[in-house]
């Protein structure tokens, strides 16, 4: 996993955990690419990524000082009310992205924060250790407990999760009230194209880029949400 830092004071000072930015550059692919904000201080933001396809490969090929057009902060982030006592952050693969900000906010809200990292195998695990406690889980048991990240997670008052949609569906089974950040393809990131449709249990579709990307787990019709987005494949 690689981290790209950008100078962007307006975004850095207003972004909330779980919100994203939509990045565009030239020459690049036609559409922008959405990335969760990974860290921010007053002046800079960071995103975390892997070279998955053309877009991410080009981003990682850039040199220090090159310009990227950055639209944001976009979407609705995690809701972390003051006074909570325990929070569990569950991340699979690149789902670590929104978690450092979530950990910061949850601790500020007074919670004891446990971060549970999951991946297929040890080398894909993220070594991030924000929060009070860190738990590891790998499908093949090469690091931490063997099995899913959902099984490895302890109980908590607030559960925040991000990762492949398949993993989030498992989170929804165990914690219907969990807040999950979903992945969809996005056309605009600003609410005008309706490309980022998230199927809802009550029928109809929401826009991941406006009403989401963070949802109450129980609100999503998981069977109708694509789990095979090429970039959701953990690598």
């Amino acid at each position: 996993m690689f981290v790209i830092g950008m100078h962007g004071p307006e975004i850095a000072s207003t972004v909330r955990a779980g919100q994203f930015v939509n990045l565009g550059w030239s020459p690049g692919p036609l559409l922008r690419r959405p990335f969760s904000v990974y860290r921010s201080d007053g002046e800079h933001i960071e995103v975390v990524l892997n070279a998955v396809g053309t877009g991410t490969a080009q981003l990682l090929g850039m040199d220090i000082g090159e310009h990227v057009s950055c639209l944001g902060p976009l979407g609705r982030g995690f809701e972390i009310r003051p006074g909570i006592r325990t929070a569990v952050l569950i991340s699979g693969g690149l789902g670590v992205a929104p978690m450092p900000l979530a950990a910061r906010d949850a601790r500020q809200a007074g919670a004891h924060v446990t971060w549970v990292h999951g991946a297929r195998t040890a080398v894909e695990l993220c070594s991030e250790t924000e929060g009070d406690e860190v738990i590891w889980a790998t499908d093949d048991g090469t690091e931490g407990s063997r099995g899913t990240v959902v099984a490895a997670a302890p109980q908590a008052e607030v559960v925040l999760a991000c990762g492949p949609n398949r993993m989030l569906a498992a989170v929804a089974e165990r914690w219907p009230e969990a807040q999950v950040a979903v992945e969809t393809y996005m056309g605009c990131g600003t609410g005008v194209c309706l490309g980022c449709a998230v199927p809802l249990k009550r029928g109809g579709y929401d826009r991941a880029c406006r009403e989401g990307p963070v949802y109450r787990a129980a609100d999503i019709d998981w069977g109708a949400l694509p789990s095979h987005l090429s970039y959701a494949v953990t690598r």
């Binding site: 036609l30 609410g191 494949v233």
Partner: protein, 304 residues
């Protein structure tokens, strides 16, 4: 002196030739940061009489220089449009046209009647790239008679400007253009998206849940310029060019090729300021050529 960019599309006077294309600007209320100062007009997201859920995701796929979409005309229906959006539009300093859709000619007519006279609605753009349910699902836009029937059905129910948005996948766009001109259209919009497909090699299935989608973006621009030009050669009413416009030079290709105005679609996704930049770029171009108004731009429009 800044050149005069105002244009008249039929009876409708616009302050500039760059319009927002249907389905790419929502209802105009979504994004406060979208620059509106130079917007000639907005065409709202396509609507049916009744609310529609739209298609299941994935709805979009990226392709070289373009994107496929199958949104399925998700929308709140006419009543909610009148209640939630039209009142806001009534206060704006540019006209809003509603992109109307139906499953039969009479449904188009009914929708126009429901919206006619509602403050905030300045006209209609008929989307004839819809399947004609009564005729086995063939597109209205592929058949000159069906296209004319829809146009007439709308024309009879409103005095507002009626624009007809043409389908590109036809063997002779001039035939359709003339048919809807005769049926009473005030202007033509050329063109809507091309039907395309993309395959996901992991699932061995189409990337889009709807299987096919409409291709938009720079990839289609040379096709769109040709079709808009062919339409403009075929009729006397104004033609509004659409397809792959991202920069002023792209818009100018359509304008030189005989269009009165243009619409910008996909480019707004990439650059929320695209419309303003296209507008300003046209102005700068005219100035650089010593032209004081858009009307003076040389056109290439040989009549057959």
């Amino acid at each position: 002196m800044t050149p005069d960019l105002s244009v008249a599309v039929g009876a409708l006077k616009l302050r500039g030739p760059v319009l927002a294309a249907s389905g790419t600007f929502g209802y105009g209320t979504e994004v406060p940061l979208l620059e509106r100062r130079s917007l000639g007009a907005m065409v709202s997201k396509g609507i049916f009489l009744r609310p529609r859920e739209g298609t299941a995701p994935p709805r979009i796929a990226e392709t070289p220089g373009g994107m496929l979409n199958a949104i399925g005309l998700q929308g709140p229906g006419a009543d909610a449009l009148v209640r939630d959006y039209a009142p806001q539009w009534a206060d704006w300093d540019f006209p809003v046209l509603v992109n109307i859709n139906g499953e039969s000619a009479s449904e188009y007519g009914e929708l126009a009647a429901r919206l006619d006279g509602v403050p905030g609605i300045a006209g209609f753009e008929i989307n004839i790239s819809c399947p004609n349910v009564e005729q086995g699902g063939l597109y209205f836009g592929n058949d000159p008679r069906a296209a004319a029937a829809v146009t007439e059905a709308v024309r009879r129910r409103t005095k507002l400007p009626v624009w007809v948005k043409l389908t590109p996948m036809v063997s002779d766009i001039g035939v359709i253009a003339r048919a809807v001109e005769t049926a009473g259209a005030d202007a033509l919009c050329a063109i809507n998206t091309f039907v395309g497909m993309s395959i996901d090699l992991n699932s061995y299935l189409p990337r889009l849940s709807f299987r096919t989608g409409g291709l938009s973006g720079p990839a289609i621009r040379p096709l769109a310029v040709h079709l808009a030009h062919q339409a403009a050669r075929a009729v006397r009413i104004p033609v509004i060019g659409i397809g792959g416009i991202a920069r002023a030079e792209d818009a100018l290709e359509f304008l030189v090729a005989g269009c009165s105005a243009v619409q910008v679609g996909t480019a707004t996704f990439v650059n929320p300021n695209a419309i303003a930049e296209v507008h300003d770029g046209i102005s700068a171009f005219l100035e650089s050529r010593g032209l004081t108004s858009l009307a003076d731009l040389p056109r290439y429009l040989p009549r057959d």
